[in-house]
């Protein structure tokens, strides 16, 4: 994945968040405090505004900016978690202008580990981890099986979507939704949903010719 595709990924993610802002907020109103879409959109809006300024940097520097911006602009639980994901991803990709499949999955896995260290959620606790964990697993598996990164990201996005959907019958034991106890059952986790959008954006970016590729 090239630097421009990475930028395209983030831009597509920002657009997807903006598009799904209301839906994410409604999911969070059912399980939490009804701000997930608003928070993510505020943060990703800031990120999108900063992208042109860092477009000439390496992937690590670009994603460090993404991580720091999310950390300081999203707030709530999602801010430090996504911030951590991108900052860890950035550490793994410092100085790089293009990522191989195994570099990408390694960086994403490092990001997930960061999220789990920060929030100590394991799969099954009805959080974004339930979308990210199967995505990383399936991404690694597909690449091992010889798939190209674009193809493997398609598989990973599908796994994330599936993982997000599987949070519906779960009872939350992490985050604000855990206060609901059994009443948390029956709703899809907003963070898992925004995490699926992240993977879907990556799959699209990997497939597409980035708009500024020719620049």
């Amino acid at each position: 994945m090239t630097r421009d595709q990475i930028i395209d990924w983030i831009r597509r993610y920002a657009a997807a968040i903006a598009e799904n802002k209301v839906q994410l907020t409604e999911l969070d109103a059912a399980l939490g405090d009804g701000d997930h879409g608003i928070n993510m959109d505020r943060g990703m809006g800031e990120v999108a505004a900063k992208l042109p300024g860092v477009a000439g940097s390496d992937i690590g520097a670009i994603l460090n900016t993404v991580g720091i911006t999310m950390l300081s602009k999203v707030g709530g639980a999602a801010g430090p978690l996504y911030g951590t994901l991108f900052m860890r991803f950035s550490k793994e990709t410092a100085g790089k202008l293009e990522l191989t499949g195994s570099e990408f999955v390694g960086a994403l896995a490092a990001g997930l580990t960061g999220i789990q260290q920060r929030g100590s959620a394991r799969p099954g606790e009805k959080t974004m981890v339930d979308a990210l964990w199967p995505a990383v697993e399936m991404l690694r598996q597909a690449l091992t099986d010889g798939a190209t990164l674009p193809a493997a990201l398609q598989v990973a996005a599908a796994a994330a979507k599936d993982g997000a959907a599987k949070t519906i019958p779960m009872q939350a034991s992490k985050g604000r939704a855990s206060y609901l106890g059994p009443r948390s059952i029956g709703h899809q986790d907003p963070g898992a949903t925004s995490a699926y959008l992240l993977l879907a954006a990556a799959a699209e970016a990997a497939q597409a010719i980035p708009p500024n590729a020719s620049v």
């Binding site: 907020t25 109103a29 939490g32 928070n39 300081s72 707030g75 430090p80 034991s173 106890g181």
Partner: protein, 331 residues
């Protein structure tokens, strides 16, 4: 949505500008990143107290910045935890060389953001302690939850630790007092109506005309259970029974109690609750030493209340009575 606001996205900044103009002697408001600092900070040799959280709970925390209470408060957007850059800037600004105490309410977002800030501050070589307040008896503290929420006890902890810091007690002692207050304080709340987050524009949840939500959080999170709307005395019974059992508070205990309004309930009603709360304390031979009745930790325009009880000793009472000069607490 019936609110005295301009654009929903500006509510926090607009209010902070107003806060600055209303209390120039008490505090300074800074933006990018946003924090509120007591006007005379940093105070050399004094432990700095920094707290923060989502906005929409006013006067908490901005109204508690000042002599004898907080050195700085970091407000997030409405109901959203503030971010590490705010905490870092606030901490640097109030650092008087005796270390910093972060008082954090137990919400995943608040805890994580303050944790990141504390790591960054520690990297700068500033002695830092963090105490997480988790006093809400409506939530079971188990591995199946994010732990109890931090609610009313936060107000009392900020007052008491602020007094200890003001008289020059060291960081370890101030932090230990904060843990003691948290260990001895319990709260629970009830909502009669939802609040409406300005950015959302409609109520977070809906309650029937004859329903109430018992064990509500301060962000419109659902509570422990939905029940038929009850009279004030019964509501007081429900909240107080849960609180008393939990610590437990027993005969002979001395307490500070707070009957807190959620923002949309008039003071008249809070005093009605206080009447029965006092009667319950009498029955249990629990002695109310001090009390607060009013809106201290609100949830925007929510109608409802919470009750907090803190078991105190002579030292906590002495610190409670120590002078305080903030926008919301002053004596």
């Amino acid at each position: 949505m019936k609110k005295l606001i301009n654009r929903p996205e500006d509510v926090v900044d607009d209010a902070l500008h107003g806060l600055q103009r209303a209390h120039p002697q008490l505090l300074r408001v800074y933006f990018e990143p946003t924090y509120i600092m007591r006007a005379d900070a940093p105070i050399a040799g004094k432990v700095g107290l920094v707290s923060g959280g989502g906005s929409g709970h006013e006067p908490m925390h901005s109204g508690f910045v000042g002599r004898g209470m907080l050195d700085a408060a970091c407000p997030g957007t409405v109901f959203t935890s503030p971010t590490p850059d705010q905490m870092l800037a606030a901490t640097r600004a109030v650092d008087g060389g005796a270390g910093i105490l972060h008082i954090v309410k137990n919400y995943t977002g608040d805890v994580m953001n303050f944790a990141i800030a504390a790591e960054l501050i520690a990297d700068e070589g500033v002695p830092i302690a963090s105490v997480v307040i988790d006093d809400d008896v409506a939530v079971q503290d188990s591995k199946f939850t994010a732990g109890r929420r931090g609610v009313g006890t936060t107000v009392l902890a900020e007052k008491i630790c602020g007094a200890a810091a003001e008289e020059g007690q060291p960081l370890a002692r101030v932090a230990q007092l904060c843990r003691q207050v948290n260990a001895c304080g319990r709260s629970m709340g009830v909502a009669l109506t939802s609040c409406t987050v300005p950015a959302a524009g409609r109520p977070t949840f809906t309650l029937g005309e004859d329903e109430m939500e018992v064990g509500i959080g301060i962000h419109g999170e659902a509570g422990r259970e939905r029940r038929p709307l009850a009279q004030a005395d019964e509501i007081t019974d429900i909240l107080t029974t849960a609180i008393l059992k939990d610590l437990p508070f027993v005969g002979g205990d001395r307490v500070i109690v707070m009957v807190n309004g959620m923002g949309g309930s008039p003071l008249l009603e809070l005093y009605i609750l206080f009447r029965h709360l006092a009667a319950i304390c009498d029955q249990h031979a629990i002695r109310i030493e001090r009390s607060l009745v009013g809106n201290y930790m609100t949830s925007l325009d929510m109608a409802g209340c919470s009750i907090t009880m803190l078991k105190v000793d002579d030292e906590l009472l002495r610190l409670w009575d120590a002078p305080v000069a903030t926008a919301a607490l002053h004596w």
